[in-house]
């Protein structure tokens, strides 16, 4: 029996989830800016979301969900402040610079990109541990779970949780201030800011967990942040490279899934690609000079995206050029994920066996990453090494936490011709 109350319940859950994705960062930025209690704001907002989950399904969804959550979280904080006052405790406030203007637009939380950027910049302060900056920003500004952040950075959950906690404590204790988004000295933080936005995009583009293959809304938020940042510092090459890269990758969003299924690049309907965004992204990238460091990482990744999108059919793709770009990227970053992508490119440019050879040695760092096994399975299948393909598909499915991708792997395994088994 599906009653009206069941329908309300399902709808309320959806609104809670959607509001979490689209408004967490804005709400937290606003709470932090107004209360200057970085230590309380995050828990208070989590509590507000928990209350919404408990209440909305039975009493209904408020007209302005984000405003309701803001009020609920503010009340939690006020309760804490009262309790502190009663016990005579005086907690240290988040420092703010004299150029900082407290936001007043509580009712208008749709237009607070600058507040989110200010919070990202705070998290990317050079006085914080380099390995904590982007994780902290993802946690606070995007609301990414510690589990998912740990996965993105290939470290254990407990390591990541400790890193984030330590960084939050240091911000308060050392008096690292919230400040206006752009200033000459803030430019030293731009690499980390760009890294954070790119990671947020990645988390939306290929979520490690959950029922969605893509969270295009989250990826879209990241693209929007990159656009705001680009508007603020037009002459910074890494920001230009980031915006170009995100435009190029996001332009394919509508073609990446069909009927809830993952569509591989080669099978995507190219007429669904947003050509205007591809053009804009390409223009931003081709005018960038060869460089070093993070800006070069972004530029090379964007050049790879251009190689994929500039041809009219997948079969016309210049895989040798892509393999060469990945080789450059691997030299620059030493990243095992990049090496895995190079294996795919070499598998196309040369042979599946040549690609497989490149995946050797990746088990040390990526043995628990389902993509390693999925890539190896596909290469092995094409090389006719069915036992390896079978075992790798099974291993990939054991490790894959994304439901839609799991289904893709299961179909591949089903379709595997295994006469030798």
């Amino acid at each position: 029996m599906t009653s009206k109350s069941d329908q309300l319940s399902t709808w309320a859950d959806q609104v809670v989830a959607e509001t979490y994705r689209s408004d967490w960062g804005r709400l937290l930025s606003l709470l932090v800016a107004r209360t200057r209690r970085l230590d309380l704001a995050e828990d208070a907002l989590s509590e507000a979301f928990a209350r919404a989950s408990a209440r909305w399904p039975s009493v209904g969804v408020p007209a302005n969900p984000a405003a309701w959550l803001f009020t609920a979280a503010s009340r939690v904080i006020i309760g804490q402040l009262r309790s502190e006052a009663i016990h005579g405790r005086k907690a240290q406030l988040l420092a703010v610079r004299d150029d900082w203007v407290q936001p007043t637009r509580v009712g208008d939380i749709g237009d607070l990109d600058d507040e989110r950027l200010a919070l990202i910049l705070l998290c990317c302060h050079p006085a914080l541990h380099p390995g904590a900056r982007s994780p902290l920003a993802l946690r606070l500004v995007i609301g990414t779970s510690t589990d998912e952040i740990a996965r993105l950075f290939l470290v254990s959950r407990s390591t990541m949780a400790a890193r984030i906690t330590r960084a939050k404590k240091k911000i308060i204790a050392a008096g690292i201030p919230l400040s206006a988004p752009v200033d000459a000295e803030l430019r030293v933080r731009l690499d980390d800011v760009c890294r954070t936005i790119y990671l947020a995009f990645t988390a939306g583009y290929a979520p490690a967990t959950g029922p969605d293959l893509l969270r295009t809304d989250l990826a879209g938020e990241a693209v929007e942040l990159a656009t705001v940042l680009f508007g603020l510092v037009r002459d910074a090459h890494q920001v230009q490279a980031l915006r170009g890269l995100l435009l190029l990758q996001h332009a394919r969003r509508d073609a990446r899934t069909a009927e809830g299924r993952l569509v591989r690049l080669a099978e995507q309907d190219r007429s669904l690609w947003h050509q205007d965004e591809l053009r804009a992204g390409t223009e931003l990238i081709v005018e960038l000079p060869v460089s070093v460091g993070y800006v070069e990482e972004l530029r090379l990744q964007a050049l790879i995206a251009i190689e994929h999108t500039r041809v009219s059919t997948a079969s016309a793709t210049d895989w040798s050029a892509i393999a060469a770009l990945y080789a450059g990227l691997e030299t620059l970053t030493g990243s095992p994920i990049v090496r895995l992508n190079r294996a795919v490119a070499v598998g196309e440019a040369e042979s599946p066996n040549a690609g497989l050879a490149i995946t050797d040695g990746l088990d040390e760092t990526l043995s628990k990453n389902h993509r390693l096994h999925a890539v190896r399975a596909d290469l092995a299948r094409r090389a006719g090494r069915f036992v390896l393909a079978h075992d790798s598909y099974v291993r990939a499915m054991e490790l894959c936490a994304n439901d839609v991708e799991y289904e893709y792997l299961a179909r591949q395994l089903d379709g595997l011709d295994t006469p030798n088994l």
């Binding site: 005086k90 240290q92 420092a95 703010v96 610079r97 004299d98 006085a127 204790a173 050392a174 008096g175 690292i176 201030p177 400040s179 000295e185």
Partner: protein, 117 residues
Amino acid sequence: MKYFVLLAGNGDVGAWEQLTPEEQELIFAKFGAFDDACEQKPGVETLAGEALQDDSTATTLRTRGGEMTITDGPFAEATEQIGGFYVIEAPDLDTITDLCRVLPPYDIEIRPVVDMG
């Protein structure tokens, strides 16, 4: 907030006794400029600031099992180059680091002071 600013190492300045009188003069000028910059900055107040004699004058006390021993020399190799310190009231870390750019190019460690209030 109150910050302890430790001139922890020679950095680009080099060893004092190897500087020419002109170079030493320049260092003094920078300390003077730092004092002025602190005075002019709103919300900033220098509460203490001293230069220390070199590590050959240092004495180290260590207590083990209730027994204190007194030895000649600095506590550790890392503390040999400590040249001086400030205690400064400032609104935030960025304000302090900006001011420290005016100081001679020593290696500097900044610590917030525990607020006992």
